[in-house]
Symmetry: C2
Subunit: 274 residues, 2 copies
Amino acid sequence: MACSIEIICVGTELLIGKTLNTNAHWLSKRITSLGGKVSRVTVVRDEVNEIASSVKETTRRKPRFLITVGGLGPTFDDKTLEGVAKALRCKLEIDDEALKMVEGKYRMYVEEGRMEKAELTPPRVKMAKLPEGGKPLPNPVGTAPSVIIDCEGTTLVALPGVPSEMMAIFEGSIAPILRQAAGDVTFFETSINVTGVVESEMAPIIDRVMHDNPYVYIKSHPKGSEMIPKIEFHLSTTAENSLVARKYISKALVQLSDMALKKGGKIKPVKAET
Amino acid sequence: MACSIEIICVGTELLIGKTLNTNAHWLSKRITSLGGKVSRVTVVRDEVNEIASSVKETTRRKPRFLITVGGLGPTFDDKTLEGVAKALRCKLEIDDEALKMVEGKYRMYVEEGRMEKAELTPPRVKMAKLPEGGKPLPNPVGTAPSVIIDCEGTTLVALPGVPSEMMAIFEGSIAPILRQAAGDVTFFETSINVTGVVESEMAPIIDRVMHDNPYVYIKSHPKGSEMIPKIEFHLSTTAENSLVARKYISKALVQLSDMALKKGGKIKPVKAET
């Protein structure tokens, strides 16, 4: 049973098309590579009720982890923790450890000559207000601490939306927990291109290969132009170790290639996307 | 009252981090520019139950439109319409008009010498199976028709996931309906960069400007390096015409700039992202 994870991205900028959601992409890729299963991504606006209702709906589905991204900063539109507190029916309280983290950051900025005053103004104190029961996680890059809190079996982690901060906290504090929760599993994937056969002719082939290789997930992505049909097949699996994972994928790949060749298709490798 | 729209993206490739969700980004930007309000984006796997439950949850929130993206093709993992039918408790039926669209496409491909046989194999017929009550919309680029269906006040539109097909159907069939539903409203946005002031010092300024300009949405995006604080402020509004929209934005922009200058910040224009 895979370790299921949901992601909630908070940010109106994502829903007006100003910002491309590279955070969800990066997290999904990273979580999958650690053996976790991202079961859903939800994107909501910077509105307390929207954040609260999406958190409530998600925790009802009982994923092992819920990661929220965005809305932790000092400004009025950073409302994620307010939304989480509303969903969990608890209060936001100044957390001493979080306040020390925030204070330490501003003192460091002053020492480095980046600003004049380290005083804890209300917007700065805001970043240290956590939902009751929440623990702060250090932010090695920015100012706002991340938060981890238990929600009846789901571990909720609130990450900031600035990509460099989100990545640093994920790698430092979350990846080790996830790796342990996912157990000893490995994700492995590969792709091939088949040209000269249209997708509707490949459909029964994929059905057959999927049937014969129950551990392998195959997805077809039509990439051709009007005149030259070209389909990318992406094969992926999660297995107990990388040797087994590669064996699963190889077997399916050989069968798929053989059947595509018999239909008159040509097989080409796909350059890895990074 | 803005015309609210939810988007459901169907595709396991999005949740394993193989594919970046550029479809949601493009649609959000386009819908916003037409005066619509994207209230939520949900991304689910190619699983019938996941699709069905996300459709049910969404229609319960009663947006004016629900746009699904992906999962309309001929292969076994194209399950969107099966999920929609399950959510609406109706059957999938072969639609004569949709079947003619699919048949016509394959006949054209044969005439153009792109394939040998135009016969309607089961995977091809699959693309013409619509939820009861659904109407097919022509796909000018690919083979699978799009579908439009009423769900108790929410208009559900199922678009294919191949970006060129999704965009063509949106522009041809959906944009005109949306524009009408949104009424005569215009979306207008602009950005400025403020350097030399940290976000926590700008927070009370934004609060003030937002308070004085209730129609303008302001979002701050920290973009600075460790040593040089730089924040991009994005101002946007939806108004009855472009003159009013520009007036709203200008007024807020002047106030924000004045207050940032007084804090010792420097103002710079932002190059438009496309």
